[in-house]
Amino acid sequence: MEQITILEGRQKQIFEKKKGVAQPDIACDTSSLSGSVSQRACVFCGSRVVLYPIADAIHVVHGPIGCAAYTWDIRGAVSSGPELHRLSFSTDLQEMDVIYGGEKKLYHSLIELIEQYKPKAAFIYSTCIVGLIGDDIEAVCKKVAKESGIPVLPVHSEGFKGTKKDGYKAACHALMKLIGTGSTEEISKYSINILGEFNLAGEAWIIRKYYEKMGIEVVATLTGDGRIDAVRRAHGATLNVVQCSGSMTWLAKEMEEKYGIPYIRVSYFGIEDMSKSLYDVAKYFPDRPEIMEAAKAVVSEEVKSLYPSLQKFKKALTGKKAAIYVGGAFKTFSLIKALRSIGMSVVLAGSQTGNKDDYARLKEMCDEGTVIVDDSNPVELSKFILEKEADLLIGGVKERPIAFKLGIGFCDHNHERKIPLAGFVGMYNFALEVYQSVMSPVWQFAPRKGGTL
């Protein structure tokens, strides 16, 4: 095979687990090298994905048209009611606006939109250029809020002001302004908020049902199938249950500080982590043992039907190898466990936005020989996939065609998942999808892994 070099300056963000070799910390939380073909996005992207599922608010992108156009309904965050989030609103800033400022345009846009759509709130996203021309978004928002009587919330998501993670934080900052403004009357003591679950393909509904079966009240889901009124009363919940380490931990910490609501971190992927996320919540309410009983009942009922159905996949997939490259590192942990449960090992594990703790834990979890990468690029991914002879890549939209060109299976664990992968049923779907792709007859016809006909 041809030797593919690693980008100079990237070595510290790559790590291979080997016995007897000193274990340096992986470098992460850094911005990408100029000139790299990075798979990462920007601050705006982070804010946009976090707030996007709130379906009864309008999401107005203040900037040139692109930022709104590229984020128009690209995430399958399903709503059970209003679908305002699936429309695209932009101030479409022009050259003159860049010179003279876009405040007036923003103001008029908001007034027009609120009149047309009667939303429960409005989120105004700043883009790169707004950060430069110095529009006073706060002032415009304040003015419109006063005139319209609904919350109008600026989101400081100028693309260049950090990484996608800073965008999550800006989104959480906007959410914090809403939380605490609604009534907490009649909220049960046995209540939670679900944080970091975006209801892709209806996943939040599945999770919510499990908790409700346990007798737990779910006050707000942040932000899947989200509603402004629910967000406003989120401070009435007893516990915050946080999924997806990157996006919402900051909000959980803020809520702990401000409202004294503790939080636990969970994951809904795979049997092991899914079960744990129910037990951990039940453990939090020891004064009502029936909650734990109910949790056990849910798990045993689900696993009873799930376990046998997984065996067919496991039989076929045992010994196959997977490469994982996803947005948040937390997801990687669950994926490793889920893959192991269907007989697969992980030879490459990486994320766009993992932090030091994440990578330390990843190192611990991985088998020897596993390559761990932060903020990777197509050259590296291809290199390691070929070297480690992976049969499957788990990633997002930009990774999919790379996998297929290399002749290996692919599973989208990002925006473009079409079926729920969370919950017990999600584990079945995941196994099925992996099985379908890895065992597809198409690989009989396609040269695999750099081979020829």
């Binding site: 090298l33 000139g35 790299s36 692109g66 590229y70 128009w72 693309g159 260049f160 050259v379 065609p401």
Partner: protein, 460 residues
Amino acid sequence: MLLRHTSKEVKEREGLTINPAKTCQPIGAMYAALGIHGCLPHSHGSQGCCSYHRSTLTRHYKEPVMAATSSFTEGASVFGGQANLLAAIETIFSVYEPDIIAVHSTCLSETIGDDLQQITRKAKDDGKIPEGKHVIFASTPSFIGSHVTGYANMVTGIATQFAVSSGVKKHQFNIIAGWMEPSDMREIKRLSKELGVKIVLFPDTSDVLDAPQTGKHVFYPKGGTTREELISAGDSLSSLALGSISAEPAAIALEKSCKVPFETLDIPIGLSATDRFIMALSQVAGVKVPDEITAERGRLVDVMADMEQYLYGKRVALFGDPDQLLPLTEFLLDLNMKPVHIVSGTPGQRFEKQMRQLLDARSPETNFRNGLQADMFLLHQWMKNEPVDLLIGNTYGKYMARDEDVPFIRFGFPILDRIGHSYFPSVGYSGGLRLVEKLLNALMDRQDRDALEEKFELVM
């Protein structure tokens, strides 16, 4: 229903765009640069831009799309992006080893005042561009024009920064491709070959964004106009620019820099535009139209005649990009159909005038608007007021089609939910045939679906 909030009453809006029928310049520049062999597009701006463009192109083509970014940070935005771009150029040549880097700017780098010409010159002076390698650039501020403008700007950059006039003319002709699919570019090359005319086609994304499965992921697929071809474009006898908005600016620039005269034509979509293209090419090259092409034309006309009763008077709403909309509208009129509403987010008086001219002559009552607030919300409102039988546009039209329950044909950019556009051309006579088939299938499937049992026809 997804668009339940769309009101029938059309009101002038002051600032707002709802559901845009365009996107921003840089993605067009990235697409154009992918049509150069061995070229890595480079986005001089925040990381998100590059990521969004690559994702959108990947969704449209189901192909890997490689491009690098300057990864702007707060510091770069205060002190200028020169250091980022210089570092990027060095990194790219040493690690990704392209022959060419095609840099385009973004709203961010434009606003902070980065001068790409000056920075790339400095890169050259500082020895950061290895011998035989090139860095070209195009200024593509997102707050002017649309993705089509960005495409045109990059194609102009390609033309002016490569083509050299050696003083000795070559017996070849430039065809400057307006924004079209790889399949269309492949078809243009096939038609030229049939005619026996030697052409330099640029950009050319065939064999780049429709690459075969090989078991390898290559950064630089086999397709794309080569550097040698581009350099020789300055010695061509003349240029044909296909598309007055997306291709003509490059032809003008080439005339200026290398004295290559040009003629501007529509993208050859449909019968009339293809006729003009074939005639123009045969005339400039002084060749006869071969029988095979005449037969292709005959087959298209034959089908148009066979099926005219099913197309007559059918009301169509369409949206998209100027250089596609013009010949497409003409083709619909040639098919005796009725374009009722036409919308393009791409601004510009040139396009407005051309479309008005076409409509005034053949369909004066058609609603047409382009530029600011010419978005899908407006189109939807129009459709509510004056209903249509068919909608043609990019994937985002599917919401309107569903809401209004009208048949929908995907055409334009982006198409995120179907394949075909990268493999089957819509230019040329065979492309026309494919369009007619699509139109008929959409309309006739609907007729079958809605037919009363006694009127449900076997033979149509």
